[in-house]
């Protein structure tokens, strides 16, 4: 894990290499791990630079819903440097009314199914993804279940006393 100073150095390096604004919005060192909060439109360049630095393995790509703080939808990329056993986290946040972000699948093939899952569960649209469709829910499902304002749902448990209402049967109980 890069320690706090190492993390700041990485952030500065990324800022220097980028032309114009720094892609890094924030750094956070928490419980021994470094996290970079990055602009959504610069995610591919940031990941490419981190790959050059040695973080060549993407462990995980997942979404978070920061409801009620805007920008609500977050995508978290966990990178791993196998040679030095070093992990770093890259986060981006996109608002719910414009949840578009570049897909990193062309450079990181492991992101294929994982980005589809984030799309399915949160509604984040990944531009440039070869095959963005729902992966866990049925194709014609409406709604994005993992968002915090989506209800957990559930069925009433069927006992004999509520059997007919719960199953939606309209014939007479015999």
């Amino acid at each position: 894990m890069p320690d706090a100073t190492g993390l700041e150095l990485i952030a500065q390096e990324l800022a220097a290499a980028g032309d114009g604004e720094s892609p890094v919005l924030d750094t956070l060192h928490f419980r021994g791990r470094g996290t970079l909060l990055v602009r959504p439109d610069s995610i591919r360049t940031v990941l490419a630079r981190l790959r050059e630095r040695g973080y060549a393995f993407m462990s995980s790509l997942h979404g978070v819903d920061h409801y009620p703080h805007e920008p609500r939808l977050g995508v978290v990329y966990e990178l791993l440097d196998m040679a030095h056993v070093d992990r770093i986290t890259v986060k981006v946040r996109v608002p719910v009314d414009d949840p578009n972000i570049d897909s990193v699948t062309p450079e990181w093939p492991t992101a294929d199914h994982q980005e589809r899952e984030v799309y399915d569960m949160f509604g984040v649209v990944f531009r440039g993804h070869p095959d963005l469709r729902r992966i866990l829910m049925p194709e014609d499902y409406e709604g994005h279940p993992q968002r915090r304002d989506f209800p957990v749902g559930g069925e009433p448990v069927i006992f004999t006393y509520n059997e007919h209402e719960a199953l939606g049967r309209t014939d007479d109980p015999s």
Binding site: M137, P138, P145, F150, P151, V152, G153, G154, E155, V157, I158, T160, L167, G168, R169, T170, D171, P173, S174
Partner: protein, 235 residues
């Protein structure tokens, strides 16, 4: 409160002492005749009305229905339908410790057309429900379904948007509780189903509390048709 006195023990008029000479005389006469101490004669020596009674008591006659029910119940062909964790415990009943082959049920058929028992083992998600229904429809009559585990009986631990209890889209004969149920529990469920098919259903608590007649039976037409409004995906 009425009190009634009755002699018991040695003075009871209904008690026959084996030391009674008359009884011993009777016993020896029966033995001489070729019977046994209970007074039953060897069938070869019976004649007439006694012979008819003997045949009625000891030879099994039955209706064709009962014979067929006996054959069906002793040869379930379960369909391999493992969905989630309960599938591993279902595999355990095929394994050697709880050996389902003792009962004749080890022939798990992969094709639903050849199976007659659907052991739904695991959680049925909304994507899977129409497929389960299709498999169940492809099975030929007579067919039975066991809902194994809490998840398919009643969504179990996960009462959320993604799961459907099996009762909503198909008729289930036996529910086996557990998460996952032990292989012995599943075996108990299968044996209960076997008794049901033999037309000798295990009344369970109704037997113990003398509550026969309190069962609610759904009319057969309602049991086999798809309940309106319950089937969400129209497959």
């Amino acid at each position: 409160m009425e009190i009634r006195r009755e002699p018991i023990g040695q003075d009871s008029p209904t008690r026959v002492s084996p030391d009674d000479l008359r009884v011993r005389d009777l016993n020896s006469r029966q033995l001489l005749r070729g019977g046994d101490l209970q007074g039953r004669t060897h069938p070869a020596h019976l004649e007439g009305a006694e012979f008819e009674r003997y045949v009625e008591e000891s030879v099994m006659t039955t209706t064709l229905d009962k014979a067929v029910a006996w054959a069906r119940s002793n040869s379930f062909f379960p369909a391999t339908f493992g969905l989630a964790c309960c599938a591993i415990e279902m595999m355990s009943i095929v394994a050697a410790r709880v050996d389902v082959a003792r009962f004749g049920f080890e022939a798990f058929r992969a094709s639903p057309r050849q199976a007659d028992l659907l052991i739904l083992s695991g959680r049925v998600s909304i994507k899977m429900a129409p497929i389960v229904r299709r498999i169940y429809d492809q099975m030929l009559e007579p067919k039975w379904a066991i809902s194994m585990g809490a998840c398919c009986s009643s969504t179990g631990v996960f009462n959320n948007y993604a799961l459907v209890p099996a009762d909503k889209f198909m008729p289930v004969d036996v529910h086996v509780p557990g998460c996952p149920p032990r292989p012995e529990a599943l075996m108990h469920g299968v044996l209960k189903l076997r008794k049901m098919v033999q037309d000798d259903p295990d009344m369970g608590w109704r037997e113990r509390y003398d509550a026969r007649g309190t069962e609610e039976v759904i009319a057969s037409s309602a049991a086999t048709s798809v309940p309106p409004g319950g089937d969400a995906s129209g497959a």
